[in-house]
């Protein structure tokens, strides 16, 4: 084979030239949408962090987007706010938690199924009829269901999904986003205003103390018999800062008195629960 000077460069430039006139594959997303099948959703992959925990946030975006409703999920949501009651218990974190408890010889709480208790779903049908089974009215429908039962029972949501034809993930995923919806029977609730004026008056320190003393975090689901800690979405006009409410009524609390007050709250609500525990 004879050596021709510049052959390599010519070959390279030839390729460049061919590519230059070939049709372009780059799509200017999001200005231009890619041309894919209507039901194409990409490939699903669950990611794990370095400790082996599923990184899933249980945000229900994938389940809501799934055209054939084949995605289900279970376990606690990542912020520990509530139990996700969707799909079989054999999925993901739930199974793992259960077997860990069994191995350590502790009783396994049946949290996955306590929410499936039978309820009278006749009011759900009436509510759906009143809203004309309209999927755009989901927020109003959920609010009405919560008005009837005091919380959102899974059986009621399943019924609503069945009757209206709205995917369960759509109902459940929407309900989990808005803070006014609850999935457990409401207990005592301490709410703290987090507006800028209250922040300046020490609401941050009050919130830290309350969270430590109530063994919870803001927005997190309380342990059985515990007191829930939430944030107020709007400062009550005329109320003093920092504003803390107990079951909706303002309660004067300062950074100094917060710890003692929280302890008195937990002592009051713990006594019946601990009595029940000794009986069992």
């Amino acid at each position: 084979m004879s050596f021709i000077p510049g052959l390599g460069i010519a070959k390279g430039m030839g390729l460049t030239l061919r590519r230059f006139f070939a049709p372009k594959a780059t799509i200017q997303y999001p200005e231009t949408a890619p041309d894919v099948a209507v039901r194409f959703r990409g490939r699903l992959q669950l990611l794990y962090d370095e400790l082996g925990n599923v990184k899933c946030e249980t945000c229900f975006q994938c389940a809501q987007a799934c055209p054939v409703e084949c995605i289900d999920m279970g376990g606690f949501d990542t912020r520990g706010r509530f139990h996700v009651h969707w799909g079989a218990a054999e999925q993901f974190a739930e199974r793992r938690e259960e077997s860990a408890l069994r191995r350590s010889g502790r009783p396994v709480p049946d949290t996955a199924y306590e929410h499936f208790g039978g309820i009278d779903t006749a009011p759900v049908d009436a509510i759906l009829k009143r809203h004309d089974y309209d999927q755009k009215m989901i927020l109003a429908i959920l609010a009405d269901i919560q008005d009837v039962y005091g919380y959102l029972p899974v059986a009621a949501l399943k019924r609503a999904s069945q009757v209206s034809g709205a995917p369960y993930a759509l109902l459940y995923g929407t309900a989990t986003y808005y803070s006014q919806f609850h999935f457990e029977k409401p207990g005592r609730t301490v709410a703290i205003c987090r507006c800028t004026t209250c922040a300046l008056a020490g609401a941050g320190r009050v919130a830290r103390t309350l969270a430590r003393e109530l063994h919870t975090e803001i927005g997190r689901r309380p342990t059985a018999g515990g007191v829930a800690l939430e944030s107020l979405h709007s400062h009550i006009a005329g109320a003093a800062s920092p504003l803390v409410t107990l079951d909706g009524r303002p309660h004067p609390v300062t950074a100094a008195s917060a710890a003692a007050w929280a302890r008195s709250l937990t002592a009051a609500s713990e006594s019946p629960a601990s009595a029940g525990r000794t009986d069992a």
Partner: protein, 447 residues
Amino acid sequence: MNRDAILTAPARFPRLLLPAGEAGPATDLSAAVEAGAFAALRKAVEELQPQGVLAAVAESGMLGRGGSGLTLGDKWRACARAGAAGDAHYVVVNGYQSDPAVQTDRVLLETNPFAVLEGAAIAAFAVGAAEVLVAVRVEAADAIRTLETAIEAAEKAGYLGEGILGSTVDIRVSVSPLQGSYMLGEETVLLKALEGKRGQPEQQPPYTTERGLFGKPTLVHGPQTLAAVPVILNGGMDGFEWTGPRDFAGTVLVQLSGAVLRPGIAEVPFGVTLSEIVDIAGGLPPSHRLKALLVGGPSGGILPPEAMSLVYDHENLERAGAHIGSGSIVVVDQHSCVVDLAAVLTRFCADEACGKTIPCRIGLRRLAEIGSRICEGQPRGDEVTRLSDLAHDVAASALCAHERRATLALASLVRYFRDELDAHILRNSCPAGICHPKADARAGATS
């Protein structure tokens, strides 16, 4: 009810949004019409036609109050052009106002509902929308009641509803009370909530003017922007002599709170300085010294006392590391700790994040943790560098405005309050005496 929260501004400040002086009940339509309400709508329908309105709004060069940098004219033109022929268009009034401490939009809707409704009707007429949705907080019960009464009265008088002002144009207005998330103030999240969906922001483009509510072209504006529209058409912005740039002509509602004598709401023209605004609230109480200004609400920036000479408009605040945001201005005195304030605000923004983008969901949480470590006197290594790097990365990879601005509080701390940070990190002491880093560290060790 909230009218007594309105502060009396100097007489030289014009009042374009809030009713001047002692007005009667806000829902009295005949009194409002006598004062000039719906004159601009009549002019639009009978004289200008949609094209004329678009031209007049474009000529005014006014920018939306949300700070997106788009002029009203461009936004309205884009919305009017978008969509197939006969496609539904929507106008959404974003009166949700997520900042828990601010009630400016609520007060505007309560005291001057017809101005907002008229502005929304003109916008709907210009872009060809038959439906206007006014999103309000459930907690703002007075505003909802006022709006519903006002809409009913205006429909009866033929200003809204079917065939407005004797024309063939229909404009139906409805009130949508919403609740449950701080994020609903973001426009794409608000549209999701109005559709009855989970509130997650969407990538833009496509902009809401092309694909908004139910996938249709939608115009989203705050009540203050819309209330200024009739003023534009009536020629009220002409000869508006203020030092601010022309495209930001007009007034804005601010909420003053913190260490001021008279906290409340004031209407100020763009182009005045922050010290002039703080003076409306009576300035600081005697023996209180100005330490900082929190401008823009929970996701705002913390500015040093020198910022009092700063001109209050979008551009100047952005350059200083703050933004108009909710219109909140909180005065911080020497008894408060800016490090604690920034840490608490960042924690709030992290808790309220929707979780769609990872830099926001995890980055803001880490930022809040750095903030509370500094407050508790347990810094790990070079926290300031870590903080500025992370804040920069989160803001650079932001999907929505919340993510971009939630980093402002801590970032402005690094920029303006290095001595306070150093006092906490290096000397383990808090100049305001509230963080008690050492005491907290001991409590953490024993528990």
